[in-house]
């Protein structure tokens, strides 16, 4: 039998759920859910010593949150050599990034994938952000010409940092170039190129100031008319420009509510409720309690 406590509580819940203000508050909460934003920046000045070209890559990670109540953000990173002169390695290691930047040495022609995870707590819950960046160790013979944005460029030969992240339809990207102005004072290029590696297609991302770019991923329509495998990597490449700083900051926003169907969820619950209502008493051989 439902007693007083349960009845009063259910009544409060019912009123709360039906009250228009409360519904609006719930919707607002889901729209403005806490997020961590991750900025990845690979700075790779080239060095030449003893006839060997190496790169001392500085990986800088910065994070921002949209909620001031977030406690400090922990950053973890791992590196794996995707392709190198020795052997491809799949060794991953995790360590706290301190102080939000780390260095790695790349030999000529090697390609290293850095994976970064960020974690922060709010109200006793953890929130995460994750990003990947591909860093290419330039070889002596592999530098390419300026302004390369051909249909199928040799992306490892680009001078600038190549970045790979797995994107999905609905994801929003905010891209920030390392410097607003080039060393010679000219504005940064206004176009970035987004590449679907599986289909070798390119999408153009433009910016008003050449500094901040915003792009909403709509893979099916903009990148490919042939469909798209959501888990294939996409490469974001800053077009080459002489003297430009070799850095790119990526801000990925993934709405967690994107692509959710509530009516279908309710329909599945209801269907299984009705189905199990008739099937379970028989299937589980339930016996009435005496």
């Amino acid at each position: 039998m439902l007693n007083k406590f349960s009845s009063i509580f259910l009544l409060i819940i019912a009123v709360f759920s039906l009250w228009p203000g409360a519904v609006k508050a719930a919707v607002d909460a889901s729209d403005g859910r806490p997020q961590i934003f991750l900025y990845l920046l690979a700075d790779n000045p080239q060095k030449e010593a003893d006839g060997q070209v190496t790169q001392d890559v500085v990986l800088k990670v910065n994070s921002e949150t949209n909620n001031p109540k977030f406690q400090s953000v922990d950053i973890y990173y791992s590196f794996s050599e995707v392709f190198g002169p020795a052997q491809p390695q799949a060794t991953w290691y995790w360590a706290a990034l301190d102080p939000n930047q780390t260095r790695l040495k790349l030999s000529s022609g090697s390609l290293v994938k850095a994976q970064i995870k960020a974690r922060a707590s709010l109200d006793g819950r953890f929130y995460y952000a994750m990003g990947e960046i591909l860093i290419y160790g330039r070889g002596q013979n592999q530098s390419s010409g300026p302004g390369q944005k051909s249909e199928e460029p040799l992306w490892p030969s680009l001078k600038l940092a190549n970045t790979s992240i797995v994107l999905r339809t609905g994801d929003e990207l905010l891209l920030k170039t390392g410097d607003q102005l080039k060393p010679d004072g000219k504005p940064r290029p206004k176009t970035l190129w987004l590449r679907d590696d599986s289909l070798k297609k390119w999408a153009e991302i433009t910016s008003a100031d050449g500094y901040l770019y915003h792009y909403q991923i709509d893979l099916d329509k903009k990148l490919s008319s042939q469909g798209y495998a959501a888990t294939k990597p996409i490469y974001l490449i800053e077009p080459l420009d002489d003297g430009g700083a070799s850095s790119l900051t990526i801000w990925v926003y993934r709405s967690q509510t994107h692509g959710r169907s509530q009516p279908l969820g309710l329909a599945v619950i209801f269907a299984f409720m009705v189905g199990s209502f008739f099937l379970f008493p028989r299937f589980l051989a339930l016996k009435p309690a005496k």
Partner: protein, 305 residues
């Protein structure tokens, strides 16, 4: 106030706490709890131990991490959970678990509709037990397999994604977003579909039997690890017992009496058996071996000492 009313009051207070505590700044240091306080409730209090274990299985998989700050944090939290479990045992399920209370509501509705209560057959009981251990495997195996790359990362927190409390408790907190099938990826579609289906099944089943999810909950395995040390226990006086099994019939989990240890297995501390026992003094709920409540014969309430 009677024993059962006191329990009900505490259950409701803890439900409110688990749904809204975070909104009032009560986060309890993010400590995991040995009951299904769902951390998917935005602005709720703390997450359950299962979510906590899944999280650390991902973050402790790298060399050095076990002995680092993460590992120490994990150790500290586990020690606190063990102490909490020893202190209250399965009273966490019977008195504090928010999803336990939701199931109690649904069972009450089932009784009102004259659909329950029913008992499970032995075959069904062993089926439930098997599913419980499969869910336990999901908790412990999926995170390392994700880290090793054998399983898609959208299966992260696989148990939490299918747990019905992760659907119903956010709904009670006014967050209907979890009642949905997620089309972000194929694994997301699969796991949210399973979650919705399981929620439907559990809601329906609760109308017929008491607390079906408590029979599947992997947390009960953790509770049973420390049952030897628990401070609160239900004891039977064998010389007074007539083996009428009335205690078993009224028990929400149909727990049987352990004839060797003279205790009731998996006791939630609901006190229903104390009420039902026809022999005065036969059953007693003891706290730290000190007598607290005893059965006092037919049609009488249990007495508080």
């Amino acid at each position: 106030m009677t024993f059962s009313r006191l329990r009900l009051l505490i259950q409701h207070l803890f439900l409110i706490l688990s749904l809204f505590a975070g909104k009032f700044g009560l986060s309890f240091g993010g400590q995991a709890l040995p009951c299904l306080t769902c951390s998917l409730v935005m602005g709720g209090c703390n997450g359950c131990l299962i979510r906590f274990i899944q999280f650390y299985l991902i973050f402790l998989s790298g060399p050095g991490a076990i002995f680092g700050a993460e590992g120490l944090g994990f150790l500290k939290a586990i020690i606190v959970v063990i102490v909490l479990t020893i202190l209250l045992g399965r009273l966490w399920c019977g008195w504090l678990c928010p999803f336990g209370l939701v199931q109690d509501w649904l069972s009450a509705i089932g009784r009102k509709l004259r659909l329950g209560p029913h008992h499970l057959s032995k075959r069904a009981e062993s089926f439930f037990k098997s599913v419980k251990y499969i869910l336990l495997l999901v908790v412990f195996l999926v995170p390392p397999l994700i880290e090793l790359g054998y399983i898609h990362q959208d299966f992260f927190y696989a148990f939490c994604q299918i747990c019905p409390s992760g659907v119903i408790l956010p709904l009670l907190a006014g967050q209907p977003g979890r009642v949905a099938v997620n089309f972000a990826s194929s694994p997301s579609i699969l796991i949210t579909f399973i979650s919705m289906a399981l929620t439907g099944c559990i809601v329906s089943l609760t109308l017929f039997i008491h607390r079906p999810w408590c029979r599947l909950c992997p947390l009960t395995v953790f509770h049973s690890l420390f049952k030897k040390f628990r401070l609160i226990d239900l004891k039977r006086q064998p010389e007074l017992c007539s083996s009428c099994r009335k205690c078993q019939k009224v028990c929400p989990l149909e727990s049987t009496i352990d004839l060797k240890k003279n205790t009731i297995k998996d006791c939630l501390g609901c006190g229903q058996c104390l009420k039902a026992c026809p022999k005065a003094g036969c059953l007693s709920l003891k706290v730290a071996s000190k007598l607290t409540l005893i059965s006092s014969g037919p049609k009488q309430m249990a007495r508080c000492d």
